[in-house]
């Protein structure tokens, strides 16, 4: 990674272990205007760190999510998120009004009520994972054995993706969310996923099941190609993010046990860790002023949701974990039309996961000192590579 004179800040910033987020964010928020930096790809971008500015960026119609616009910031060398041209149905990369068609098709399945109805099924998945851990002995890697497998099983059973294929889609997803993956690796991973889902959809056309893909096929509002892209987005967005948050949350709750079982802990953990800090990338399609800074058309913008969620003007003592605060105005799920479609599912998954884990394994503890937990420095998402525990 190289930096030039014009760009004093290397990016992404090294994440400082347990003290999250990077301390530099505090200086960035105080600075007049915005901070300019260079991505490993050599592209210049503006970093947005104040809560108000992040919300403005994520709602301004002159700012686009579409990577096919010149200047769109990409996390990896030149690759990064697919665009609608590469993956039809990848609607997180579409602007209104095109975005709305996909979003409207999906929101009925992710309402607060719909997700509440999924509780028994999620509870069963969580219980089975814990049964398996208990049967296997008195130690586990809580990431592989629990934090990752729970959301992965939830989203795959919702979509109708066979459990047997978990290894395949988890491995491909990992390539897509690792900052150091090459373009070729990314391209190959996303093509493999698309081909896989295409085949699965063909099977479901002949033999529909009781699942979301079959239902969307029956509704017929999306083409088969679009449905593959939508399924891929849901599958990818649905497991790694949640897994990272569940894992980090367990560490925090182990040292703050009085918050176990309190629903407010979930919202505060979402705010506190903001695992998707490097997820919402944008480009200006017209000149626009944000936070006193002129951004020219064609310049990239990264609203850092972790920085916004640690903005002391909105959250008192922002770097403390305190579920008694009102954390609901956090932007861990983004803001504006793309605000996370799966957010209600995440809340329920986290709530059930923590409650059940600590209830069924009350003697759960870390098997290594907290400083030795392997943090992800190479990920688009903040999290742990592994979480060794014992009971």
């Amino acid at each position: 990674m190289t930096t030039t004179d014009r760009c004093p800040v290397a990016f992404p910033l090294r994440r400082p272990g347990q003290s999250f987020p990077p301390p530099e964010y505090q200086d960035f928020r105080k600075q007049d205007g915005l901070v300019r930096t260079t991505l490993p790809s050599g592209v210049h971008v503006w970093l947005v760190t104040r809560h108000e500015d992040v919300r403005t960026v994520l709602t301004d119609p002159r700012i686009s999510s579409n990577p096919s616009h010149p200047g769109f910031p990409r996390a990896a060398k030149t690759g990064g998120v697919p665009s609608q041209d590469e993956v039809p149905g990848w609607f997180v990369a579409l602007d209104p009004p095109e975005h709305g068609r996909f979003r409207k098709t999906l929101i009925p399945e992710f309402t607060v009520r719909k997700v509440r109805e999924m509780r028994p099924a999620i509870q069963q998945i969580v219980d089975e994972r814990i049964d398996a851990m208990l049967a296997a002995g008195n130690t586990a890697d809580l990431i592989a054995d629990f934090a990752l497998s729970v959301p992965s099983l939830v989203i795959s059973s919702l979509l109708g993706v066979p459990n047997a294929d978990r290894d395949f889609f988890e491995t491909k997803t990992r390539v897509l969310v690792t900052l150091t993956s090459t373009d070729e690796q990314r391209q190959a991973a996303s093509m493999a996923l698309l081909r896989y889902l295409n085949r699965l959809i063909t099977i479901k056309q002949k033999r529909p099941g009781d699942d979301l893909i079959s239902q969307l096929l029956a509704e017929g509002t999306l083409s088969k190609q679009e449905l593959s892209g939508v399924s891929m987005l849901l599958l990818i967005a649905g497991h790694e993010t949640t897994a990272n948050n569940i894992g980090l949350g367990v560490v925090t709750l182990l040292s703050n046990p009085r918050w176990i079982g309190d629903e407010r802990a979930v919202e505060e953990l979402l705010r506190y860790y903001s695992v998707a800090d490097l997820v919402a990338f944008r480009v200006a399609v017209e000149d626009v002023e944000i936070g006193g800074q002129l951004i020219k058309a064609g310049e990239g913008i990264i609203p850092l949701v972790a920085a916004a969620n640690h903005d002391g003007t909105v959250f008192d003592r922002p770097d403390e974990f305190d579920p008694s605060r009102s954390a609901r105005s956090h932007v861990a799920f983004g803001y504006g039309v793309h605000q996370c479609l799966g957010q209600n599912l995440v809340r329920v998954e986290m709530d059930i996961a923590y409650r059940t884990l600590f209830e069924r394994i009350p003697t759960l503890e870390l098997a290594v000192p907290v400083e030795e937990l392997p943090l992800k420095y190479d990920g688009v998402l903040y999290g742990l590579h592994a979480l060794p525990v014992r009971w």
């Binding site: 709602t59 399945e109 992710f110 309402t111 607060v112 609901r328 105005s329 799920f333 605000q339």
Partner: protein, 65 residues
Amino acid sequence: MVHISVDTERCVGAGQCVLSAPDVFDQDDSGIVLVLEEPADEPGREAARQAGLICPSQAITVKES
């Protein structure tokens, strides 16, 4: 008193309002916001205001009167 209006065209169905003020807001079968009833007491009004502030699509207007 407050008067609550919602813009169903803007709503993106995130359900934040339903979580904030379940007595005031709901989502219809297509996931879009609907107002159940205007809040009668101050905690209810405060919850509705909070929903207006966090709604990601700025689809909720709470008019004080």
